[in-house]
Amino acid sequence: MSSDLHFCTITDLSAQLAAKELSATDLMSAVIARTRAVEPRVHAFNSCDEANALTQAAASDARRDDGQSLGPLDGIPIALKDVIAVTGQPLTASSKMLEDFVSPYDATVTTKLKNAGAVLWGRANCDEFAMGSSTENSAFGPTGNPWDVTRVPGGSSGGSAAALAAGEAIAALGSDTGGSIRQPAALCGVVGLKPTYGLVSRYGLIAYASSLDQIGPFARTVEDAAIVLGAIAGHDERDSTSFKTDIPNYRAELATRRGPWKLGIPKEYFAEGLDPEIGAAVEKAIAFYKSQGCEIREVSLPHTQYCLDTYYIIATAEASSNLARYDGIRYGHRSKNAKDVVDLYFQSRAEGFGAEVKRRLILGTYVLSSGYYDAYYLRAQKVRTLIRRDFLNAYREVDALITPTSPIPAFKIGEKSDPLAMYLCDIYTIGVNLAGLPAISVPCGFTKSNLPIGVQLIGQPFQEANLLAIAHAYERAHEWSAKTPNL
């Protein structure tokens, strides 16, 4: 592990902070210095409020001096994807539509991180309204992958992943609707966890597709991810889809759950289109588990081939409705050229939204139209039931599934202009969202061109403790997360 503060883990830093070998202010200053140094090349953030972060860090130091430390996250700089509301801070969703929007309220995860003493730092860039797999669909310009800034960091939470990989934050939050945490985590060489739908409150998360969206952590290690998840998980009365379940001490559980586990290999996930280097790296990870006494079994998720269409129908339908509120009236971009109120909607939205958002709004509006609803939306909801059933059937035999996270490593900025080709980046991650399952991407190697590779572990509903322990077992025996990019 690097000796640079900005590349340290929460685990290390919280120990140093607790021992008063380090102050939160010094840590924050180091992260600010690093950000200033690399941000022109990475562009991980849409905005960062240095003065505000230093004030938070000073407050953390004051608490610690008073013996009132709030735990392992107290004083740790955490970046938030720019779709999560923080009172008094910009909230743009990387859209011109919300370029000047300042949130008058906190998301529930924001409140929870504040209560844990975390220093909220930087609004991370992303695809506009979280729609995309490369962070190129940001109205404020793309983010560079810290391992090769001419390449994308993945998306939609590319800024969060890149900020962490580049040492501009110690952990980050993203949101995952079809792979938007796991895929950029894989492409940037960090850990990314998408929790079970309902484990983390969505209140204050700008909605893309409500029945699929879930907030989750990016971290350098599985243990760090467990710490952040512990801080943000839990039932929230402001989110009707939040689930009432006991939250274990995920970090402590890592030590108690030792396996061996039964792991399933869904054969449909190793079909054509998978990059051979990624295939080989994932095979090695599978071999590792086998060597540790885990039983490896091939399983079938027969509806996998329908995930992509099911996902894009449901996600665009929900998005077309969720984004109707951006009309330039109460907030957001308001066209100066409108003749009347109907024109105001039309012009404001035409000027405020980017091409991919518009594409998805058109698709979503179409699939919900009377006459097409049954053929597209209703049918997709039924296929969704079948997809979820596939996973639950597999879980009768195995504890978790192991697959590649992304079929390809980080690609060049501007390389993929065809939307369908871009949509195929999510091929291994979207089934998880349709089934509402937890899944984690863990670094498992590098390509010959030194681009990170991630392996995905998919767990059973609300069994994050198990999932993290399985991932942790792999991570403990490998050094991938110790590698840092040369920036």
């Binding site: 949130s103 204050g204 909605a207 029945s211 889809t241 509120r325 109460r330 909607y345 919900l368």
Partner: protein, 483 residues
């Protein structure tokens, strides 16, 4: 040709809850603009809805009161359209799985005279569902201003079958729904505050025809009398149009109650596609037997049922029940006083005549009345026993209304008590009277019974009015018979 009108009503009722239907900021009317908002009401990025349990209880109660079938499972749908009063540009509503199905609204049509009961009918309902109200637009000369205070207030939509045929029926229907909602504590139904709103679908057809004619939707029927007048006007307009050889077009018309005219707002040619779909932010509602029976236990007896019971139990005339049963507190007041006095009919008369008149004059509500069931019952008992006389009782009542208190004490204080106790004195007055009216005595003896009134007059005069007339009558007859 003779035409028959077919009328269906869509009635919106604001449910009386403290907080909004999908968030916990307060509801209210008449507040400063945009003081009742939060991220959910304003549809800020990231805000999410959470159902209000009280609104669900209220619609189940409405459904049970109107005999609807309560759906075992219902869900929430998004009705999508862009309009500046709708912050999300979709309204959370219930599309194909409403909370209540079927049911009826009992109505009474006007009788041939005020004190004669009219015909009763049961108007079938299609459905009742719950949704959220929108904000309010204030139209200026060059622009419009939006106030979101009303947005998110729980709103029930009660849809009738196209089963009414006259403006009177529609009027009676709305009156009955209003009474039911107020009785159930579901809504105050103040039309001026927009708590009760009504749109009517009206068509005509030749008498005997069973198919429905082209319907016209009439909007802005914003008082109960406008509902009657507007519908009557629309029926006349349609008949006149058809009789002139014209054709009814499907359209929405705006009724101007002050002018008594209507004008076309838009034709329904381009029917809107609302792209309804289930709201992924809200979970479905399951209503089990226990929930229903808990609400059932809170359901009050409705006015018409109460009226039939008052006929049976108290033998009250229609003229009294029709005054007493429409206000739940008044009916309860009556029943308590009737029970305490054992004299329902005089109690009913006192309430319907004296109490309501005094309250009306003073501009007070029943809750503020100093006449309470207990002192009213006491007054009625005093009159019945002859302890006070009719006109004295009226004076006591006025004093009781002004200051409250016990009627016996007031009678004492005002010297209004009749004094029948001294039988000797009464007998002496009677003897004196008979002795002084030889002519009346002769007439009486000759069989003219009314001649007794001449004696009564002078006895009352001697007694200064403070004797029980019944006792005077008895005493006089005894003495006359003996003389």
């Amino acid at each position: 040709m003779n035409y028959e009108a077919v009328i269906g009503l869509e009635v919106h009722v604001q449910v009386k809850t403290r907080s909004k239907i999908f968030t916990r900021v307060a509801t209210g009317y008449g507040h400063e603009p945009n003081t009742l908002t939060d991220p959910v009401v304003l549809a800020l990025p990231g805000a999410l809805p959470v159902m209000n349990k009280a609104a669900l209880d209220a619609i189940i109660k409405a459904g049970l009161l109107l005999g609807c079938e309560i759906a075992p499972v219902c869900k929430w749908d998004r009705k999508q359209y862009f309009y500046p009063d709708s912050p999300k540009n979709y309204q959370i509503s219930q599309y194909d799985q409403p909370m209540c199905l079927g049911g009826t609204v009992e109505i009474e049509l006007p009788g041939s005279a005020r004190n004669i009961m009219g015909e009763h009918k049961k108007i079938p309902l299609t459905r009742i569902h719950l949704e959220e109200d929108v904000g309010k637009l204030n139209h200026g000369a060059t622009d419009s201003l939006v106030d979101y205070n009303r947005a998110g207030t729980p709103l029930m939509e009660i849809v009738s079958d196209p089963a009414m045929h006259t403006a009177e029926e529609a009027y009676a229907y709305l009156t009955s729904i209003r009474a039911t909602m107020i009785y159930g504590g579901i809504s105050d139904c103040d039309m001026e505050k927009g708590q009760l709103r009504c749109d009517a679908n009206i068509s005509i057809r030749p008498v005997g025809e069973t198919r429905l004619g082209t319907k016209v939707e009439l909007k802005n029927l914003n008082s109960i009398s406008f509902v009657r007048d507007g519908i009557a006007h629309e029926i006349e307009r349609q008949i006149a149009l058809v009789e002139r050889g014209g054709t009814i077009v499907q359209e929405t018309r705006d009724y101007d109650g002050m002018a008594g005219t209507s004008q076309s707002l838009r034709s329904k040619e381009e029917a809107h596609d609302y792209r309804y779909f289930p709201d992924p932010d809200l979970m479905p509602v399951k209503v089990d037997a226990a929930w229903k029976s808990r609400i059932q236990a809170e359901c009050p007896e409705l006015p018409f049922v109460k009226q039939r019971r008052f006929f049976e139990q108290y033998q009250l005339p229609y003229s009294l029940t029709s005054v007493l049963v429409w206000d739940r507190e008044l009916a309860d007041f009556f029943e308590e006083a009737a029970k305490l006095s054992g004299k329902p009919q005089p109690v009913g008369n006192w309430i319907a005549n004296d109490l309501l008149r005094e309250l009306g004059t003073a501009g007070l509500g029943l809750a503020e009345s100093k006449v309470r069931p207990a002192n009213l019952a006491a007054l009625v008992r005093m009159v019945e026993s002859g302890a006070v006389l009719g006109h004295a009782a009226k004076e006591i009542f006025v004093a009781m209304f002004a200051t409250g208190g016990d009627p016996a004490a007031i009678a004492e204080q005002l010297g209004l008590k009749s004094a029948p106790t001294d039988a000797g004195e009464l007998e002496q007055w009677c003897r004196d009277s008979i002795a002084a009216n030889a002519r009346a005595l002769a007439e009486f003896k000759a069989g003219k019974d009314s001649a007794i009134n001449a004696f009564k007059g002078s006895v009352m005069k001697a007694a200064k009015g403070k004797v029980n007339p019944k006792l005077v009558d008895e005493t006089l007859r005894r003495l006359l018979a003996a003389s």
